[in-house]
Amino acid sequence: MLRKQQNITIIFLLLFFLLLVLDHFHSKNHQGLQIKIQEHGEHEEGSSPCGM
């Protein structure tokens, strides 16, 4: 039996994964599946998640 708080977490996780799947297919349909992790070549604003 899952605990109450875990139930809430699980609902959140399932909704979140649903968003991920929708986003995956939406992105795939709109511009083709990108399978390359974004690369980071320069130390400038907007070029990496860390420098953001």
Partner: protein, 394 residues
């Protein structure tokens, strides 16, 4: 170090089965539809989640412990993790590519935006009850209140992306990397000396208030394998694991561990879904954010480690049997979670990262903004701790 995880003790088999099933599905999906790199990033995130949860390695609680109780073992374990990460990450940043990846450190400017942003983040983390990594692992661990913090963390991050270009127009010295002024060994040693000095100060203040100094390693009273699987890791284990996993993130993703970029991205994706033309905002026209917005979330390395982290904490929580069966979230506590989440999200955008992207990875990359972040976030935390009673938080 304590993210206030209640303790029970039996393995929660239902939750464990569900967590493992989700992890296997996720890994299989990524392996088939994306690449080995994506697969590995989810595993690294999983390791981060397990380590954070089992070591209860939170920045928020340990800073509060030091401010209120002068108990410094949590802070010292963070300093150890940062010191190890400097050694494991900085030497690799001199090379342009690693294992076929272009690599870049977590660099940010020394400017007004970082000062204000880190202060707001520090304030928010005490009200929200968790930092960047702390919010994720407590959500994964089944803390319903932290879900409120996370939702508003995401909203705050989105707002931060709207305003960041204006904040960046304020005075700034630009990015200052120690590597530009000295060789790698000198950059490592100088930062170790500063870390050592801070550790010494925590010991000094702790001695003033307590007879004994709390340790970051005490031998577990149960078997190693039991502790490894079911938790209550010594802080030392957590520090070593996080530093190693940060290095693996650099190897696989091409950048050190980062958390909050993904929150802005998730917020932008939801806003786009609701009809807001986020793509027109200046921030989302910049190179990296623009690409991230137009691609799947699953193609974003930061999102993958975050998702893995939540799953790792969920599975670790199931193994440890920790969790509360009662939901008690008062109105004032909810307000603190909302306010804390917004402040952290907004602050992290302004400050070029959170306790992970700016503090942990920033310092490990030799970026001075990491040190600036540390000072002002701690100051913000001090005021945040003082504000907590107003929201009914102890």
């Amino acid at each position: 170090m304590n993210q206030e995880i209640p303790h029970q003790s039996r393995i929660d088999k239902s939750a464990l089965t569900l967590g493992i099933a989700l992890l296997i599905c996720g890994l299989t999906f990524l392996f088939i539809n994306y690449s080995v790199k994506h697969f590995l990033l989810l595993i690294i995130g999983f390791g981060l989640g397990v380590s954070l949860y089992h070591a209860a390695f939170g920045f928020t609680g340990s800073w509060r412990n030091f401010i209120l109780e002068r108990n410094g073992n949590g802070v010292r374990s963070q300093l150890l993790a940062i010191g190890l990460a400097i050694l494991l990450i900085l030497p690799f940043l001199g090379s342009e590519s690693l294992f076929g990846n272009n690599i870049v450190g977590a660099l940010g400017p020394i400017g007004v935006s970082v000062i204000i942003g880190s202060f707001l983040f520090g304030l928010g983390m005490q009200l929200g009850g968790g930092c960047g990594s702390g919010t994720l692992f407590t959500v994964g661990g089944g803390n319903a209140r932290m879900l409120i913090t996370l939702v508003f963390f995401i909203l705050g991050s989105l707002l931060g992306t709207l305003h960041l270009p204006w904040w960046l127009s304020l005075p700034s010295l630009g990015t200052i990397s120690l590597s530009a002024y000295m060789n790698t060994m000198q950059a490592i040693i100088i930062q170790w000396i500063v870390l050592g000095f801070i550790a010494w100060m925590t010991i000094y203040f702790e001695k003033q208030h307590h007879k004994n100094i709390s340790k970051i390693y005490t031998k577990p009273d149960q078997s190693m394998i039991h502790v490894f699987l079911q938790g209550r890791w010594p802080l030392l284990w957590g520090a070593v694991a996080l530093a190693l996993l940060n290095m693996f993130t650099l190897f696989v993703a091409g950048h050190p561990w980062s958390v909050t970029f993904a929150f802005g991205l998730w917020g932008a994706k939801v806003a786009t879904l609701l009809g807001v033309n986020v793509a027109q905002w200046e921030y989302w026209t910049w190179a990296y954010p623009s690409r991230a917005l137009h691609q799947s979330i699953l193609n974003d390395s930061v999102s993958l480690t975050n998702i893995g982290l939540i799953l790792g904490a969920f599975i670790a929580s199931s193994l440890s049997g920790k969790g509360s069966s009662i939901i008690r979230i008062s109105l004032r506590s909810s307000l603190a979670a909302i306010l804390g989440g917004i402040l952290m999200g907004y602050g992290a955008r302004l400050a070029f990262g959170c306790n992970i992207g700016a503090l942990f990875s920033g310092i490990a990359s030799g970026s001075l903004h990491g040190w600036l972040w540390f000072g002002f976030a701690f100051l913000g935390s001090y005021f945040g701790v003082k504000l907590r009673p107003s929201f009914g938080l102890h």
